[in-house]
C-alpha cells in the first residue's frame, strides 16, 4: 500500500519516530517554560541535564545493575537534586539582574557538565537496552508498532498532562502561578517563595532527566546528545510561546511529526525544518502560536 508514492509502512514508521522526538521536545520545552515562569531564566543547561539523566540510567545499569524502571524514578530524583544545588549555589544570585545573565550562566553550566562527561565517557555513544517488558512490536494490521516507541509517547504525554494538572488544578499549582505573577505578594501571604523557586527548578530539570531516560534506549547515550536537542527545543519554545502548558505540549508533538514527515519526503531538510517553521511563525505571528505579547 502506498501513499504519495511512499510505502504506508515507512510513512507510519517515520510518523511514529516523529512522535517520539516530539515527546522529547514537549517534555523539555515544558520544563523550560515552568522554569522560566518562576525563575525568569531560560535554562541553557536543560540539554546537558537531559543528557545527565540518560547517563544516570546508563551508569546505574552498568555499575549497579539497576534496571530501566528503577532509573526512570532514580534519574529525575538525582538530577533534580543536582539542579536544586545549582539553583541554591549559583542561580539565586541572578534574580534581580537582566534575564540575559541567566542564559549566560546556564550556558556556562552546560559547558562544564558536557565537558566533564566528555572527559569521562568520550564522544562515542553507549548503547542502552530496551527493557524486556517493552521489547518487540505489536502488529496493528496497518503497521508494525515497536512497543517501546509507543511507551515513550504514552509516558511523556502522561507526564506532561500530570504537570498540567499539577499547575492548573491543584493548590500547590495555584501558589506557583501566583508566585509567577507576583512573588512579593505571595511571600507576604506566608508562602516560602525561595523554597518554591528551588523546588520548581528541581522539578523542571527532573523532567529533563526523565526525558533523558526515555531517550536512552532509542538513541545512543552520548555526552553530545543534549546540545543539539536544546537548540531545537529553543526553536520549539519560540514557535509555541511559553504562555500555555497545553500549547507547548501540542507544539512539541506537532513539530516532531512534521520533522518525521520531512524525513520521508525531503530527508535533506529534516534537520532544519523546525528552524524554517520558526522563521515563518516569526513572520506571521511573532508572539508564537500560543504566546501572549507582553
Amino acid at each position: 500500500m502506498e501513499l504519495f508514492g511512499v510505502p504506508l509502512q515507512a510513512l507510519l514508521g517515520q510518523l511514529m519516530l516523529g512522535l517520539v522526538n516530539g515527546s522529547f521536545y514537549a517534555v523539555l520545552s515544558l520544563g523550560l517554560a515552568v522554569i522560566f515562569g518562576m525563575l525568569n531564566i531560560i535554562n541553557f543547561a536543560h540539554g546537558a541535564l537531559y543528557m545527565m539523566g540518560a547517563y544516570v540510567a546508563w551508569i546505574a545499569l552498568t555499575y549497579f545493575q539497576l534496571g530501566y524502571w528503577e532509573s526512570l524514578l532514580l534519574a529525575p530524583l538525582v538530577v533534580g537534586a543536582f539542579g536544586m544545588v545549582i539553583e541554591r549555589a549559583l542561580l539565586q544570585w541572578l534574580y534581580k539582574l537582566d534575564h540575559l545573565y541567566g542564559l549566560l550562566l546556564t550556558f556556562g553550566i552546560a559547558l562544564v557538565i558536557e565537558g566533564t562527561y566528555r572527559y569521562f565517557f568520550g564522544v562515542s555513544g553507549q548503547p542502552y537496552p530496551v527493557p524486556v517488558q517493552l521489547e518487540g512490536a505489536t502488529n496493528l494490521g496497518f503497521m508494525i508498532l515497536p512497543n517501546y516507541r509507543a511507551w515513550v509517547v504514552l509516558a511523556s504525554t502522561a507526564v506532561c498532562l500530570a504537570t498540567w494538572f499539577l499547575i492548573e488544578r491543584t493548590r500547590l499549582g495555584a501558589y506557583l502561578r501566583a508566585g509567577t505573577e507576583n512573588p512579593r505578594l505571595v511571600q507576604a501571604f506566608g508562602v516560602n517563595v525561595p523554597l518554591m523557586i528551588t523546588l520548581t527548578y528541581g522539578f523542571g530539570v527532573g523532567l529533563a532527566a526523565f526525558a533523558g531516560v526515555l531517550a536512552a534506549p532509542v538513541i545512543q547515550v552520548s555526552p553530545l546528545m543534549g546540545s543539539h536537542l536544546i537548540v531545537v527545543v529553543f526553536a520549539v519554545v519560540v514557535i509555541g510561546g511559553m504562555g500555555s502548558i497545553l500549547g507547548s505540549i501540542a507544539t512539541g508533538l506537532g513539530l516532531g511529526v512534521i520533522e518525521g514527515l520531512t524525513k520521508v519526503f525531503y530527508p535533506e531538510a529534516s534537520n532544519t525544518v523546525v528552524f524554517v517553521i520558526m522563521a515563518l511563525v516569526l513572520l506571521v505571528r511573532p508572539a508564537g502560536l500560543f504566546g501572549r505579547e507582553k
Binding site: G115, V231, F275
Partner: protein, 310 residues
Amino acid sequence: MLKLDLDRAAYLVFLVAAAAAPFFVYPVLAMKILCFALFACAFNLLLGFTGLLSFGHAAFLGSAAYATGYAMTRWAVTPEIGIAFGTLIATALGAVFGGLAIRRQGIYFAMITLALAQMVYFFCLQAPITGGEDGLQGVPRGALFGLIDLGNDTAMYYFVLAVFLGGFWIVHRTVHSPFGQVLKAIRENEPRALSLGYTVDRYKLLAFVLSAALSGLAGATETLVMGFATLTDVHWSTSGEVVLMTLVGGVGTMLGPVVGAIVITALQSELADKVGPWVTVIMGAIFIANVLAFRRGIIGELAARLGSRP
C-alpha cells in the same frame, strides 16, 4: 579630559604592542587573535551598545569563512576580492537573520539567533559545496592586489592588522556617532526611544547588519590566515566563545572585546595541549565566574577603578 587621555594612551599602547607582536608571538596565533578581536568588537557593537544578545554570531563568521574559501579555491580570485565576497555573503545573511530576530526581544532574540545559526551549520554540513565534515581545506592566501605575496607570515600579519584596525575604526566611528547615540538610547530604554520618534526596528536592523558584516570580515580574514574553513566556524560553540570574549573583556567598552579575545584565544591555545577535554570545562567555569562575580569584565573594572578616583 583625563578619561579621554587615558583612552588615547590605551589605544596607543595597543597599537605599539600590535605592531611589535609578530616579533614576540607566533605570527599565526597573533593573527588568529586579531581576527577574533575584530569578531568580538563586531559582536560587542550589538550586545554592548545596542543591548541585543545574539547567540548565533558564528553564522556570520562561518558563512564568510566558507564563501571566501570557496572563492579563493574555485575562482582563484585575489585575496581582497575573496574577503569582499565573504563579507558580502555575511552581510546578506545578517539582513535576513536580523529582519527575523528583531521581531522578538530579550531572551527570545537570543534563542532565535541561535536557532537560525544552527540552520547555517546544517547547511554547511550537508551542502555539496562546503566539503561536509572536512570543510574547505588548502585555501591559498594569494597575492594582495596581485602584487604583495601574503604567503609570507609577516606580510600577512600586517595585512590582518590593517583589516582589524579598519574594522575597529568603523566600530569606533559608529559608537561615537549620532547613530550610535540612538543605539545606546535603545539599549537603555527601548519604549522611550520609540516614543521619541525613532524607528527603533530600523536602527536595530542596521546595527545587526553592520555587526554581521564586520563578523564576516573577521571570518573571511581568518580563512586566509588558517588556510581552511571548517564546521567549527559555524558551530554554536564559536557563538558562545565570542560572547565569552566580550564578557571577559568588558561588555560595552571599546577595548574590552580586544582584551577578551587575547585572553581567551591565548588561554585556549595554551591549554589545548596540556589539559585536552578540560578546556570546555574551564571555559564554562570562566563563564560562570564572570557572570556571578565579574560582570564588568577586565576593561570595565579598570575603567571603574580609574574613573572613581578624584
